[in-house]
């Protein structure tokens, strides 16, 4: 910044204040942009279609319509089951393989790790049809198992990458101390590495939960109507000739709540896990 001749430049304190306020203003704008959809959703969930058109007045009409047309409870349960099963598989695979990639010396470790990580770059949409064919051949379409397996397969590469990075941050001496203390690698993993990686496990859980819970495509493709997840259910709600926006908003609100709750619970771990490996 060139100082104007004859004019004193802003004092450093004042300049800091201006910056702080400018930053604050920008953050407010961003917050409004991010939160407005939530507000819109919450506001319009409590209207009837007529009230929605007029944008005035509130009622529970949207909710009664939602519950009348959609087995909300059972679909929430379906979502929960699919999520839990997929995340369980992801965690088991990613923690053990992440530990192996980080701490065990075996032939081809680097190459295999590279392959796993490169799977991160494959978009779901490009493999969904072959995936469907595969599962159809195994007779796993139209069941929880198919969707769970697809979610697990999609989530595992990133989870493995994250876990391996985390385990690399654990000092080799710690693992060796356990080995010398008389544990094999299996028990070293279970007793030392796993408890120490709780922040990373929390991170994987949250990220995968949000991803799987919010996903629509896999749920629609691989689950029969009776076992649909809540997102797939909501999609069918809008597929009819008339779409009741308030009912849709009410459903969206319900389905958003678990993701928000999970996020809030694990928030602290999440930040810790994501910034991990950035130097200690």
């Amino acid at each position: 910044m060139a100082a104007h001749p004859g004019r004193r430049p802003l004092g450093p304190r004042l300049r800091r204040h201006v910056w702080a306020w400018a930053l604050f203003a920008i953050m407010i704008v961003i917050a409004v942009v991010m939160l407005y959809p939530f507000w819109y959703m919450a506001d319009n969930a409590f209207r009837s279609p007529g009230q929605f058109d007029r944008q005035s007045g509130h009622s529970l009409a949207g909710w009664s319509e939602l519950f009348a047309n959609l087995p909300v409870a059972s679909q929430m349960l379906n979502s929960t089951l699919v999520c839990a099963a997929a995340i369980a598989i992801i965690l088991v695979v990613s923690t053990s393989s992440g530990f192996a990639f980080a701490k065990l010396r075996f032939r081809g470790s680097g190459t295999v790790f590279l392959l796993v990580v490169s799977a991160l770059m494959v978009p779901l949409q490009s493999i969904i049809i072959p995936e469907y064919v595969n599962l159809a051949k195994l007779g796993l379409t139209n069941s929880y198992a198919g969707a769970v397996l697809v979610y697990a397969a999609l989530g595992t590469p990133f989870a493995t990458f994250l876990m391996a990075t985390y385990y690399r941050g654990i000092s080799d001496e710690l693992i060796e101390a356990a080995i010398i203390d008389g544990l094999g690698y299996e028990r070293t993993f279970l007793r030392i590495a796993l408890p120490l990686s709780l922040p990373a496990i929390a991170t994987v859980t949250v990220l995968q939960f949000i991803q799987i819970w919010d996903d629509l495509l896999v749920g629609l493709l691989f689950l029969p109507p009776g076992q649909r997840t809540i997102t797939a259910g909501l999609a069918t709600l809008s597929a009819g000739r008339t779409t009741s926006i308030p009912a849709l908003m009410a459903g969206s609100l319900i389905s958003a709540v678990p993701a928000i709750v999970v996020y809030l619970i694990f928030q602290r771990h999440l930040v810790k896990g994501l910034t991990l490996g950035m130097g200690r």
Binding site: S171, E173, E176, I179, I180, G182, R187, P195
Partner: protein, 402 residues
């Protein structure tokens, strides 16, 4: 209680570097053997091979006469103390110490008794419930020791256990480790890069350089009779002055000549170094410990009289006194280090510590603090010629017996 033997142990890493070359070592029952050397000399690799954390490329390692090359670390019954302590951060001090016993199937009452005993010895009783992060560096070090001793293993392996402590604590813990080891009588292999630590702790000290064992001996012998130039330069602080010189025939016996200086080799030295005869007229590396250079004014030496030679007057006069310009005077309180420039080359191959950076043609004298020799003056220094060391400049080996 046990013996550890290494027979021609070599470690070659997949990238082709040889970390340890044909290492032969015997660690006696109850002995504390220190492996010392500059970083990258292979000492830690050697220790890790004994622990079973590194595979042996060739040669054999045996514990109590049983070859353990293919025995898993957990079945070798040894405990290791790591440089970083490697305490389990999620476990309390008690659990850290009990950890190994628990997985070895010890009974709960026995675990409690042993941990309590170790905690008592190491004065860790008030901290048993704390997590490692709530402890100071010295306390963590103690927990690491405690974790090793509760196991009552056949041997302790210690990998630079004190290098993360500050200087004062290091000295204190060094003494504690020495006492502990002596009272327990457990065979111990201790790795360090610090020659002072090696000298003060070791029953015997093994000096390694470039993966090759240079010498194994009790500390005093290592200091007084270094086997080669590396050991001579590595052990001792400030290090031994090593000077490129020639051995020449003088009237009253051989003379060491470097630059304008001439030192008479006393008969006692000749008797102890019969191999010297062959070097007459040849280049040698002469080694002088800093404490064997003294202020002539305080040593009571006559102005031009030899202290070690029987030749008063004549051309041989002053053969144990050298006059050198002093470039630096360092006060240490109990002693004074005088840095002097010599008119000859310091031996270039002298292997210092790495952190002992001294300009080449400079030697250091450890003088009495009463010495009044000042910087920038020419000082008269008496050389204790009876304590001269001689090395072959080509092989670096100490010249002793013919």
């Amino acid at each position: 209680m046990s013996r550890i033997e290494l027979d021609s142990v070599t470690k070659r890493f997949p990238d082709g570097t040889t970390a340890v070359r044909a290492l032969d070592l015997r660690v006696g029952d109850g002995e504390l053997l220190v492996l010392v050397g500059p970083s990258g000399c292979g000492k830690t690799t050697a220790l890790r091979m004994i622990a079973g954390l590194e595979a042996v490329t060739s040669g054999t390692i045996s514990i109590d006469g049983v070859v353990v090359n293919d025995v898993e670390p957990r079945h070798r019954d040894i405990a290791m103390v790591f440089q970083s302590y490697a305490l389990y951060p999620h476990l309390s001090v008690y659990e850290n110490m009990a950890f190994s016993l628990r997985y070895r199937g010890a009974r709960k009452s026995e675990i409690q008794a042993r941990v309590a005993e170790a905690a008592r010895i190491l004065e860790l009783e008030p901290y048993l419930r704390r997590k490692p992060r709530e402890l100071s560096g010295g306390q963590r070090q103690r927990v690491a020791m405690g974790r090793a001793i509760v196991r009552q293993p056949r041997a302790f392996l210690m990998d630079e256990p004190l290098s993360n402590l500050d200087a004062k604590l290091r000295v204190q813990m060094r003494a504690e480790i020495a006492q502990l080891q002596r009272s327990l009588g457990t065979t111990t292999v201790y790795v360090t890069h610090d020659q002072t630590e090696a000298m003060t702790l070791g029953t015997r000290v093994a000096v390694l350089s470039g993966g090759v064992l240079q010498q194994v001996a009790p500390p005093t012998e290592l200091y007084r009779r270094p086997a080669n130039l590396f050991v001579a330069g590595f052990i001792g602080s400030p290090p031994m002055n090593l000077i490129d010189a020639r051995l020449e025939r003088g009237d009253g016996g051989p003379l060491v000549v470097f630059g304008p200086h001439r030192l008479r080799v006393p008969p006692s030295v000749l008797a102890g170094h019969s191999g010297l005869d062959r070097y007459l007229g040849e280049p040698v590396v002469v080694g002088i410990r800093p404490e064997h250079l003294a202020d002539a004014a305080l040593a009571g030496a006559p102005p031009a009289g030899p202290a070690g030679g029987p030749a008063p007057g004549g051309p041989a006069a002053g053969e144990s006194v050298i006059e050198l310009p002093i470039s630096l005077r360092e006060e240490l309180g109990s002693e004074v280090h005088l840095h002097a420039t010599i008119g000859a080359a310091a031996h270039a191959g002298a292997a210092g510590d790495g952190d002992d950076v001294r300009s080449l043609a400079t030697i250091v004298a450890r003088a009495d603090p009463r010495s009044r020799i000042a910087e920038g003056t020419i000082a008269r220094l008496v050389v204790d010629a009876a304590e001269l060391h001689f090395f072959d400049p080509a092989t670096g080996a100490s010249i002793r017996d013919g």
